[in-house]
């Protein structure tokens, strides 16, 4: 492999890593703070993509579509929390898995009823439709760089909110000791609903942003569900930093695995996960089990 293709492959890795982080951050947020294993994570991703497709078609502009779709997915997250997830915080993880699996089936069927089974494309906004030439044969779409920048923005915003604001302090406190926060007079129930809705909106946002790159099709949520779990497990359940590092590592392992070991391409990511877990069962940034 020559230097230029090595550099391009590294760029591919970082770019894929950013995308994975964006997709996995909502999952790790919800698990880290609420302790809920959300299998319907992929459904929120799919809903985001379909909303972006549908609203972009109606309004003619992806950015307007995203601005409209974000509050919608936030409200959907609130509704799901109130009507379903909210009853299961105290229950075993198995209940959550069963419930959220059921949600996958419901959302998939709703998608079929509302939007049908065709594959849809979402055009890249004209402003970002250019490509930057990298080598003599290959160029890089500007929109992919835009996704990376958006991911950095989301990561920074999450860090600031959780570590620098009162809301973030309450979220962290609620995760550490729910009863104490309640005794001090803060409504944990409302807080949890807010976090779940934020996590859902974040995941949907990932779906919206990647819709022009990914295209929009039935079953797209299941595609990203598994890789999201891999990222979150490697990073350590519930850790935002962990999700970021995990996503970057997977980006590199997946990209270079495809190039150097094409026969084992489907395995490389999982082999890497197994190796990490053997070394640190709690994940790279996970809290050690007490």
């Amino acid at each position: 492999m020559d230097v230029s293709s090595f550099l391009v492959q590294s760029l591919n890795s970082v770019q894929y890593g950013f995308l994975l982080f964006l997709v996995a951050s909502g999952l790790t947020l919800i698990f880290g703070i609420l302790g809920v294993i959300n299998l319907a994570h992929g459904s929120f991703f799919m809903i985001g993509a379909y909303l972006a497709h549908w609203l972009a078609l109606k309004t003619g502009n992806l950015f307007v579509a995203i601005a409209l779709a974000l509050p919608l997915s936030f409200l959907l997250g609130l509704a799901v929390e109130r009507l379903a997830i909210g009853f299961l915080y105290a229950r075993d993880h198995l209940y959550q898995v069963l419930l959220t699996y059921g949600l996958i089936l419901i959302f998939n069927e709703l998608q079929r009823i509302l939007w049908g089974n065709d594959v849809h494309g979402v055009p890249v906004p004209a402003l970002l439709s250019a490509s930057i030439p990298l080598t003599e044969a290959q160029s890089y779409p500007l929109y992919r760089f835009f996704i990376s920048i958006a991911c950095i923005g989301v990561a920074a915003a999450m860090y600031l909110v959780i570590h620098r604001t009162k809301l973030g302090m309450l979220i962290r406190a609620g995760a550490a000791n729910r009863e104490m926060v309640e005794l001090l007079g803060f409504g944990v129930k409302r807080l949890y609903a807010l976090v779940f809705a934020l996590g859902a909106a974040l995941t949907a946002f990932a779906g919206m942003l990647s819709a022009p790159v990914n295209s929009v099709y039935p079953g797209m949520g299941e595609h990203i569900l598994i890789i999201s779990f891999v990222v979150v497990v490697i990073g350590g359940l519930g850790s935002i930093q962990g999700a970021f590092v995990g996503a970057m590592l997977i980006g590199f392992v997946d990209t270079f695995g495809k190039v150097f070991l094409p026969e084992a391409a489907s395995l490389s990511v999982y082999a890497f996960m197994a190796a990490v877990l053997l070394w640190r069962p709690q994940g790279l940034f996970g809290a050690r089990p007490a």
């Binding site: 492999m1 020559d2 230029s4 293709s5 391009v8 492959q9 591919n12 890795s13 770019q15 894929y16 079929r112 009823i113 509302l114 939007w115 049908g116 089974n117 065709d118 594959v119 849809h120 494309g121 055009p123 490509s131 030439p133 080598t135 044969a137 290959q138 160029s139 890089y140 779409p141 929109y143 992919r144 790159v213 990914n214 295209s215 929009v216 099709y217 039935p218 079953g219 797209m220 595609h223 997946d254 990209t255 270079f256 495809k258 190039v259 094409p262 391409a265 489907s266």
Partner: protein
Amino acid sequence: MTTRKTPTRRRFLSAAAGAGAAASLLPAPFVLAQTAKVKVGILLPYTGTYASLGHNITDAMIMAIEEAGGTLGGRPVEYVKVDSEADPAKAANNTNKLIAGEKVDFLTGPVHSGVAMAMVKIAREEGTITIVSNAGADALARQMCAPNVFRTSFSNWQTCYPMGPEMVKRGHKKAVSITWNYAAGHEMIGAFKEGYVKAGGQVAKEILIPFPNIEFQAHLTEIASLKPDAVFTFFSGGGAVKFMKDYDAAGLKKSIPLFGAGFLTDGTLQAAGPAGEGIITTLHYAESLANPTNKRFTAAFKAKTGRPADVFAVQGYDTGQLLVHAMKAVKGDVKAKKEIMAAMRAAKLDSPRGTMTFSKSQNPIQDIYLREVKNGDNVVLGVAQKAVEDPGRGCGMT
């Protein structure tokens, strides 16, 4: 009806049809043998990703029979539909439901090759006359062939082999092929390679991607560094759209032209937009074929269903035509299996795709068309290869 039906309405209609079919399963007491209905079992996906394929195949098949008076050899027809869900794990059970439970006279379907393998395995044992109306697995023309199993669609090999010589003819001597690492991918890429190497081309690299992975960026960089004359690919559905878009966005289409199996650009062009333009594919059909049968067929299908016809509808239509032809030959006597099969074997169908006959393995002998995407449409450039027949290697009947 001029407006496009909404999916909701379509679903309602199909649900209603399903309920109708279920109601007709009730035993009809003491019907005279001569006027007894011919039971046609249909195993197709009516829910899930492939639902639209299932509906198009079914509707066109029924349309063909209705055009012939709505009867098979003078006898009324009862359609027994089972939703295959395109799930191979449920295929054996679903097939038994139709053969043993419903005692159907004919069995048709399915879309998914995995379902087809299980379905045909049982049909071979039970002897039910079976018409495969989509699944393209090569094995159905080869080791799985049987006197009572026919196919009106294609074999994966058939649709891709003619592209090899065509690309060499265009001066592309060195190619890279890329597909998913699964059975259909192997068969399509393998057939292309066979034709390509025989014509003097060289496949520099075969890239196989774990199914259903759609992160192509690393492979596109690899293709850019290999600098082949052309790329041959097969993906379907969302993967096809994403590959066409990524290939275009990476700037590769300008320097390395993209060729593909026909299913790459079927039902995916609207979503792919400008990224699809200029891609050249081979398939046994194109909506834009100018023959009179196709013109009449596409208009009639649109009028009946409100949906545009596609390759799947054509295959359903020909399944219906084959049933009409064979049952006419035996004047409606479903007991005359030998004669029915002989009539099917000798059939020469006036298909929207052109004239179609059957090979010794009872698979279609058909022209494979060369198509180029222009303004979001598969425009026919000509015939890539006339009367292509699957080699039927390992089929005991050839």
